[in-house]
């Protein structure tokens, strides 16, 4: 398996992932970084909402919900791979 996943929206199991970066430069992507989705931070997919979107992620000890459109901006790869 290739070590790069496209983005955190593709994650569907509880493996630990490492954030490679957030795409985009506007206020939106800045906000994602401010709440902790920064390069190097570990992130883990926990579950999807019953209707399929959004999804819950574990980041720096907290549970956060992101819609698919936001999760697609967060580039990740497998931690330690």
């Amino acid at each position: 398996m290739d070590r790069t996943l496209a983005d955190v929206a593709d994650a569907s199991d509880g493996r630990l992932l490492e954030i490679a970066g957030v795409t985009g430069t506007g206020a939106d992507s800045r906000r994602l970084r401010e709440i902790g989705f920064c390069a190097g931070a570990p992130v883990r997919f926990i579950r999807r909402a019953p209707l399929g979107d959004p999804a819950m992620y574990e980041l720096r000890g907290a549970l956060l919900s992101l819609r698919r459109s936001e999760a697609k901006r967060i580039r990740v790869h497998r931690a330690g791979a």
């Binding site: 920064c38 579950r47 019953p50 959004p54 000890g61 919900s65």
Partner: protein, 642 residues
């Protein structure tokens, strides 16, 4: 006590000191604020913007005289996006014609400390004295995590106090600390963080700081994971939610009724006592019928209000509300709104006024306006008395399934009706008038926590006071005005007729009756008579006034001990015909579900949107929709033989 590095000796400035409390949403900021001020917040607004201002004086017992605490809106960073975030930053920078605060307490959740420290770095970057309150240290320990506050303090150079806000642990230390902000001088560690320019740098710095302390990150909250697996399960979770909602509305009928009957008897007894003991003057009758019976008819719903808020506050405090937002976010996405709009809508179920004020957290102006326009559809607690009165009178209490009756199901249905109307209207607005891209939304899902009963009780008490105050002001005023309109012009009593018959004659010839008859063409399609029309006009002030109106109209009807509901349904001994057919009663319920009948809501919409345009629009479209839907309900129910 560790030695603090004091870079510059400072002298205490002129008092009083002002200390701001800064922290992320859910960090436990407000609990700390309440503990430090002893629940004595002075509410108000910041000049020019509508964000609430919560200030309070530090309790004297902490040893300082004049320290004022300012509770800032919750923020993730000092790069503001929404109106309330902007306010937090402006206060820190010395906006609103005030000096910057003398110090800032940065509240950091100890279980997610890594996420909280970057805000501390940003605050220190403003050059203000800062200190750290580490909240939830009890939870950190319970999850086998650990942080040495002394070491953290050493590393940062500013005071760090561990607290458990809702149990008062560490509050004394924090209270003593905030009296002397001029001693908070950042050490090299914090100064380094204050220089960070990007989020990456600040998080990197936070990592380094924590790396230098003996710190054990908490284990995942096992209970939360387990409960989520169950409560967020597609099938089980939805079933649990629906069963809970239905059970709750059933409880409003089955559990709260005895308490309500008791209050109702009390009010009736009081009114009868006044009529029997005081001389029979117009004033006595105003007191007994207009004030006691009119306002009393609303006050008897106190048990239901208490039950409603107990449940709402419990769900909020235990962490389930955030899950509800998580579950329905997909629906909100379809509507075109983000999750923060859902949270504002949720608070509108208590009352649209705080709900509309909660829209200040929504960064997109269009999303915010859309939410304001549809929030009054949420079934607020003012609708509850009207619903309960009409349902108890006109819907049979026959069991449907298990503990559920038609009455409970009707009430549940009305709540879903309001929700549906809010979401559909929002979808229409977002696709037409207020089209715009959806901004990113992230929602923090706090761990499940068992709320302390005293916290819930305090919140419920606040809401109950608000309800009683409303009854004592706006509803009292409307009820007194109505009494005059229902009893004037005066006419001599006909000795041939009984007291009740004379009273009926006065009512039939009253100014209110003429006004109600004037409106008959409007409401005739639903078969509402003048009495309902008077109630509908009067309830424009506040929805509960409908109940007060009917109570006054029926003050002298029926036998002793017959409730208002019995009289309305015409099922009592007195022989008065029913006020409404069942089809008309259903139409009236639907009318109340959709109509915009609340002065306070219109006033808050005007304030939040800065003009009369949107309140007028809301009034027109909601009442138009209410009329159409009521008429449709009447036609369908009549056809179905109701």
């Amino acid at each position: 006590m560790t030695t603090l590095v004091r870079l510059r000796p400072t002298t205490p400035p002129r008092r009083p000191g002002r200390i701001a409390i800064l922290g992320a949403p859910n960090s436990g900021k407000t609990t700390l604020f309440n503990a430090l001020t002893g629940h004595r917040a002075k509410a108000g607004n910041y000049p020019g913007v509508t964000v609430d201002r919560r200030e309070g004086d530090l309790q004297r017992r902490f040893g300082a005289d004049d320290v004022r605490l300012v509770d800032l809106p919750g923020v993730y960073s000092l790069e503001p996006q929404s109106e309330d975030e902007t306010v937090a930053v402006r206060v820190l920078e010395g906006g609103f014609g005030e000096a910057p605060p003398d110090g800032v307490v940065v509240v950091v959740d100890a279980t997610t400390i890594e996420r909280g420290l970057p805000l501390l770095a940003e605050a220190a970057g403003l050059g203000l004295p800062v200190c750290v309150a580490l909240t939830m240290i009890d939870e950190l320990k319970a999850r086998h995590g650990q942080i040495d506050t002394e070491e953290l303090q050493q590393e940062l150079g500013v005071p760090v106090v561990g607290v458990v806000g809702n149990r008062g642990l560490g509050i004394d230390d924090l209270g003593a600390l905030v009296s002397s902000p001029w001693d908070w001088t950042p050490g090299p560690g914090l100064l380094h963080g204050a220089e960070a320019r990007t989020p990456e740098d600040r998080f990197g710095w936070a990592r380094d700081v924590l790396g230098a302390c003996r710190r054990q990150a908490p284990e995942p909250n096992r209970w939360t994971r387990r409960l989520d697996r169950f409560l967020l399960h597609p099938a089980i979770g939805s079933a649990v939610f629906l069963a809970f909602v239905a059970f709750f509305f059933q409880a409003i009928f089955t559990w709260a009724t005895p308490a309500m009957d008791f209050l109702s008897g009390l009010m009736d007894g009081l009114a009868d006592q006044i009529l029997a003991t005081l001389p029979d003057t117009a004033f006595t009758r105003l007191l007994a019928d207009g004030v006691i019976r009119g306002v009393g008819a609303v006050i008897v719903f106190l048990p239901q209000i208490v039950l409603l808020f107990t449940v709402i506050l419990f769900l909020e405090a235990c962490g389930y509300m955030a899950r509800a937002a998580f579950v329905v976010d997909r629906v909100m996405g379809w509507v075109g709104l983000e999750g923060r709009c859902f949270i504002a809508l949720l608070s509108s179920y208590a009352c649209a006024v705080p709900g509309i004020m909660a829209t200040r957290t929504i960064p997109s102006p269009r999303d915010r306006l859309t939410t304001i326009l549809v929030a009054p559809f949420a079934t607020c607690s003012a609708r509850l008395p009207v619903y309960i009165l009409l349902i108890a009178a006109f819907i049979p209490a026959d069991p449907v399934l298990g503990p559920f009756t038609w009455q409970g199901l009707t009430l549940t249905g009305l709540y879903f009706l309001g929700t549906g109307a809010a979401l559909l209207s929002a979808a229409v607005f977002k696709r037409g008038l207020l089209r715009g891209a959806t901004l990113p939304f992230y929602l923090e899902l706090p761990p499940y926590r068992l709320p302390r009963p005293s916290d819930i009780a305090l919140g419920v008490w606040d809401r109950a006071k608000l309800f009683l105050r409303r009854a004592g002001t706006i509803i009292l005023a409307a009820s007194v005005v109505l009494w005059f309109l229902l009893n004037l012009p005066r006419r001599p009593a006909d000795p041939q007729l009984s007291v009740t018959e004379n009273q009926r004659a006065v009512l039939e010839g009253s100014y209110a009756a003429s006004a109600g008859r004037l409106l008959e063409p409007v409401f005739a399609p639903m078969d509402f008579d003048w009495r309902i029309n008077v109630g509908l006009v009067a309830s424009q002030a506040a929805r509960e006034v409908m109940v007060a109106t009917l109570a006054q109209i029926y003050a002298h009807e029926g036998e002793d001990g017959e409730g208002l509901g019995v009289l309305l349904a015409g099922s009592g001994e007195g022989g008065a015909p029913p006020l409404l057919s069942r089809a008309s009663a259903l139409a009236l319920l639907v009318y109340f579900a959709f109509a915009m009948q609340c002065m306070s809501t219109l006033a808050v919409i005007r304030r939040e949107t800065g003009g009369w345009r949107w309140p007028v629009f809301t009034f027109a479209y909601m009442n138009g929709l209410a009329w159409l839907s009521a008429w449709l309900t009447f036609v369908l129910a009549s056809a179905a033989g109701a």
